[in-house]
């Protein structure tokens, strides 16, 4: 599992500084991190600890201010906009806290939006079946519950068979029951498709699902826990 040949991401000395008006916000202050193929990693930390910034940099949605960020041995930091776009298109699946579905498209069409431009995708119907929404294919986002919307978002993210699945607070807007269903789907994708999965949360209970738990605090990695046994989502106590 920790064989360097399986290393997907390599981050060294990552920093990120946002100018916010007159002050500068240092979101990341020098993060070193390796992520490995098929791993389920949870990023844990309070608000403002730098979790989302790290996730965005991993996913090519943002670039570090300094430091190296490698994916598959290639430095994302030197990618231009078009290369980052291709990187996201070919390798990364995203799940956002607020789903970010296109409101004017049905569940199936939201997934098709991504399979359309992917090289070897699942069929949208297949992806939606995977997340348990085979019977909601033609519903618009407004006709779906929050949990269902998030599952559409997961189907959309995994339909392209990405190497990496990045989830930013996927259960943040959901109740416990629904949150567990969503986590179960993510867990299943990780196990069945072998997708390297990174999940942001500030809910420590979810950490039990992961192979590794990375604790972020104030822009730095505070510590990393290894779970010897991954807990099934159903067994999580919130």
């Amino acid at each position: 599992m920790t064989d360097p040949r399986d290393r997907v991401f390599l981050a060294r000395g990552l920093t990120k500084i946002y100018p916010m008006g007159e002050i500068e916000v240092r979101a990341l202050r020098g993060v070193d991190l390796d992520l490995f193929a098929g791993e389920f990693v949870v990023l844990l930390g309070p608000s403002g600890s730098g979790k989302s910034t790290l996730l965005n940099i991993l996913g090519g949605l943002d670039s570090p201010s300094s430091g190296a960020m490698q994916y598959g041995g290639r430095d994302l930091g030197v990618y231009d906009d078009a290369e980052l776009t291709r990187y996201r298109r070919e390798h990364v699946g995203f799940v956002f806290q607020f789903y970010n579905l296109i409101p004017s498209l049905t569940a199936r069409e939201n997934v098709a939006l991504v399979t359309e431009i992917a090289r070897n995708p699942l069929a949208p119907e297949e992806a939606l079946t995977l997340v348990g929404l085979a019977d909601r294919l033609d519903h618009f986002p407004a006709q779906l519950s929050g949990g269902e919307q998030q599952r559409v978002a997961i189907a959309r993210a995994v339909a392209k068979r990405p190497e990496v699945l990045l989830c930013d607070e996927p259960t943040g807007a959901l109740d416990v029951q629904t949150g567990i269903r969503v986590l179960a789907v993510i867990d299943r994708v990780n196990r069945e498709l072998g997708t390297t999965t990174v999940v942001i949360t500030h809910n420590a209970a979810i950490a039990a699902m992961a192979d590794r738990v990375i604790h972020l605090s104030n822009g730095l990695i505070a510590r990393i826990d290894h779970n010897t046994q991954r807990q099934a989502p159903d067994d999580i106590v919130w």
Partner: protein, 787 residues
């Protein structure tokens, strides 16, 4: 269909109200562009073909009497291709059942052959038989005005002899597209007519057998005109030549050219204005619409859609709106253009109409609109693309509001919380607020441009006919006549006052400028014909020197004190130097004025006059008209009231049709702009307002916050719109100045009121439509998701 295209159609359907409003604005801009462009093309084309096919002459000359043998010498002049000698005379006509005096012009046509120049387009009937001296063709306009059919009889006074003519046909002529009675500026088909008779018959009647008193010349090359005119003047002076001139000084052509110039002005100004406003609006709206999609753009980018694909997606949206708008606009414009061109064809009495839609017109409209829309889209997309997807998807950071100027001035106690929100919102996005204000101001200004002319025309008439030309009746003599004529006019029934004048055709020269016009001698202290200064005060006529119409002075570049060269174009054709003593304010026509005795001295002639102005007693008008008809020396009689009516009719037939269309379109554009502003504001702030509702604000309160902003911007925009409108009107007035008329820049309060009403009504209607949507805000949705 690709999911992205589905998204496109669904979103287009969702914003259909706005899309339609944008399309309407495009439709108006394009329609007016196409309407005017096509009309202008058609009129130019039609006139050119008419002139060519009916051999409109290039040079014209009237004279007293010359032997036919002179024809050969004229034909031999270099540059001359065709010569037609004619007999032309002024006549009095009598139509049964029409009491007012009718004057006309008798023009000879060759017997037994087609005329070489100024051919007639015979609408009905046949040419007069060569061996008959009582047959004539009449101009169609005159025939229609009196409902004359072939076979109808017409009583005329030819050379002092009463005679009855039989109408055998009705015709049009390129020479008399506009039939203007000498001294009149606007056509009156009831009181003035053109008749054509055989050359032999007319020659006998006027003692012109083997002679002529009018000649028209066709040139091999139009550039030869100045030389031919000089040579012709040289040949004709011994025979009483009145000065040859080219088409530019031919009354019908000149009037037509001025009309064309005015149409060209409108055809340039209005489309530029309307298209400009449409393109501006398109730019702003697209910019804001796409600005609101920034989150979706971020999501698409997160999933690996490239900038190109996303740009194409939004361009398609824009293209659909623009293409539909342009297509409908071209269709509507082509239809309106045909209608307008047909109106002009009837007005000018062209025998046919060459109407076609030129591809360049359509292409121009398309490119301009596409350009505006694409620029607005590109602008917004660039802003969206500049953001990293992570940022784009993040809710916009709480906007940096701050206390407004009003609050910083310490006046916040005067403002309620909603009022503060309105002011802060306006101040936070000053550029957006400015564009919104500018859009509404443009709408307001455009509305004024379509409207202001009506009030202005009324003012022109008031000044010209009530302050300046105050006679009831004007008579012109066939040739300069001695003062004794007054005696005979004085004694006529109902005549209360007679004021005479002398009018001489002249060419005025100053430095390199020259102008052919009329020099009028008037007796000082007149009450019927008065001269006004720039402030419309009465001007005293000096005993020496000339006064010029202000516009004529401008054309010649002279000011009071300059010395002008006056070339008299009749009689012994003297050339004199005369000082300019001042300028006269006149809205209609141009002329030079002198003291009557001074003019007689200048011409070294006795006390001769060309006509007279009469004040008459209404009760004796019909008897007076009858008696005037018996005086052969009188070439024309003009009734002032009728002149005013003719003026109004001419204006209505030409200008007011398209100002009406322009007004309608301006109203549509005003509504389109304001409705879009309101809708975009609603979309941008829907969530914020729904949150306020959740917090317990009432519908009325949140409506106030949104619509209060619209209202405030509208109120700011209206005065700005007045300034814009005044600017547009100034452009129009400056461009429309011609020797025929100058429209004064007088914007009646009703014009301002109209524009303000249109803008306010549009704002109210838009507000009501938006308010209905506000009432249906989804309060749950705002709690469930973020924006």
């Amino acid at each position: 269909m690709k999911p992205l295209d589905r998204k496109l159609w669904r979103e287009l359907w969702q914003m259909k109200g706005q899309a339609v409003a944008i399309m309407l604005v495009i439709v108006c801009g394009v329609a007016i562009h196409v309407m005017f462009g096509a009309t202008l093309d058609a009129l130019g084309q039609t006139r050119a073909r008419y002139y060519q096919e009916y051999r409109f002459a290039d040079v014209f000359a009237a004279l007293k009497r010359a032997p036919e043998s002179l024809r050969e010498r004229i034909a031999a002049l270099p540059g001359v291709a065709e010569v037609e000698t004619r007999v032309v005379a002024a006549v009095h006509l009598d139509v049964a059942g029409f009491a007012e005096p009718i004057t006309g012009r008798l023009v000879s046509i060759p017997d037994n052959r087609e005329s070489r120049l100024n051919r007639l387009y015979l609408r009905q009937g046949r040419p007069p038989a060569a061996d008959r001296d009582d047959e004539a063709i009449v101009s169609e306009a005159f025939a229609e005005a009196h409902r004359l059919e072939p076979g109808a009889k017409l009583r005329v006074v030819i050379n002092g002899r009463r005679q009855t003519l039989t109408i055998v046909g009705m015709a049009l002529s390129p020479e008399y597209i506009h039939q203007l009675r000498p001294g009149s500026m606007f056509p009156d088909y009831q009181r003035y007519g053109v008749l054509w008779m055989g050359r032999r018959a007319l020659g006998v009647a006027y003692g012109m057998e083997g002679a002529f008193n009018d000649v028209v010349v066709g040139l091999t090359d139009a550039r030869a005109a100045p030389d031919v005119i000089d040579e012709l003047d040289r040949l004709l002076t011994p025979y009483g030549g009145l000065g040859a001139h080219d088409r530019e000084d031919q009354p019908s052509h000149r009037f037509l050219s001025e009309e064309f110039r005015n149409i060209t002005l409108s055809a340039t100004l209005f489309p530029v204005l309307f298209l400009g406003v449409a393109v501006f609006l398109l730019n702003v709206v697209m910019n804001r619409l796409i600005g609101m999609q920034r989150e979706q753009i971020g999501t698409l980018k997160a999933f690996g859609y490239g900038n190109g694909a996303i740009a194409l997606h939004y361009l398609k949206l824009v293209l659909i709106v623009v293409l539909i708008g342009v297509a409908v606009g071209v269709f509507a414009g082509a239809g309106l253009g045909r209608r307008l061109a047909e109106l002009y064809t009837m007005f000018f009495r062209f025998p046919f109409l060459d109407y076609r839609l030129s591809p360049s017109l359509v292409l121009g409209a398309l490119l301009l609109n596409l350009g505006g829309a694409v620029a607005g889209t590109a602008f917004a997309l660039r802003a969206a693309f500049a953001l990293r997807p992570a940022e784009a998807m993040r809710p916009e950071p709480p906007a940096r509001y701050r206390a407004t100027v009003v609050e910083r001035l310490g006046l916040q106690r005067l403002l309620s919380q909603p009022n503060r929100m309105i002011l802060r919102h306006i101040e936070r996005r000053p550029l957006k607020s400015l564009f919104a204000v500018l859009g509404i101001a443009l709408a307001c200004g455009v509305t004024m441009a379509g409207r202001f002319q009506e009030a202005t025309i009324t003012h022109m008439v008031e000044v010209h006919y009530k302050l300046s030309q105050r006679e009831d009746l004007a008579v012109t003599f066939t040739e300069p006549t001695s003062w004794r004529a007054i005696g005979s006019l004085d004694g006529l029934p109902g005549v209360e006052r007679v004021e005479v004048y002398r009018a001489v055709p002249v060419r005025l020269r100053f430095q390199h400028h020259s102008r052919r016009t009329t020099l009028k001698g008037v007796p000082p202290g007149g009450d019927l014909q008065r001269l006004l200064d720039a402030d419309l005060r009465l001007l005293d006529l000096p005993s020496e020197g000339v006064l010029l119409t202000d516009y004529l002075g401008e054309l010649l570049g002279v000011q009071a004190g300059d010395r002008l060269t006056v070339e008299v174009l009749e009689g012994s054709r003297p050339v004199r130097e005369v000082p300019v003593v001042g300028l006269v304010k006149e809205y209609l026509g141009v002329a030079a004025y002198m003291d009557l005795a001074g003019l007689n001295r200048l011409l070294r002639e006795g006390p001769a006059i060309s006509g007279a102005y009469l004040a008459v007693d209404d009760r004796e008008r019909s008897e007076l008209y009858r008696r005037l008809g018996d005086i052969p020396r009188i070439a024309g009689t003009a009734i002032r009231e009728q002149e005013i009516r003719n003026f109004h009719r001419t204006m209505e037939q030409t200008m007011l049709f398209f100002t009406f269309i322009a007004t309608v379109f301006a109203v549509v554009i005003a509504f389109g702009i304001i409705y879009n502003s309101a809708r975009i504001a609603l979309t941008e702030r829907g969530r914020e307002l729904a949150s306020l509702r959740v917090l317990g604000f009432t519908r009325a309160e949140i409506s106030y916050i949104l619509l209060g902003e619209l209202g405030l911007l509208t109120l700011v925009a209206i005065p700005l719109g007045f300034i814009v409108g005044r600017g547009i009107c100034t452009l129009f007035v400056d461009g429309a100045r011609s020797e025929l008329y100058r429209i004064p820049l007088i914007i009646h309060p009703s014009t301002y009121a109209f524009a303000a009403t249109v803008v306010l009504a549009s704002a109210l209607l838009s507000g009501w439509l938006v308010r209905r949507k506000l009432d249906r805000l989804d309060l749950i949705a705002v709690l469930k998701t973020r924006d």
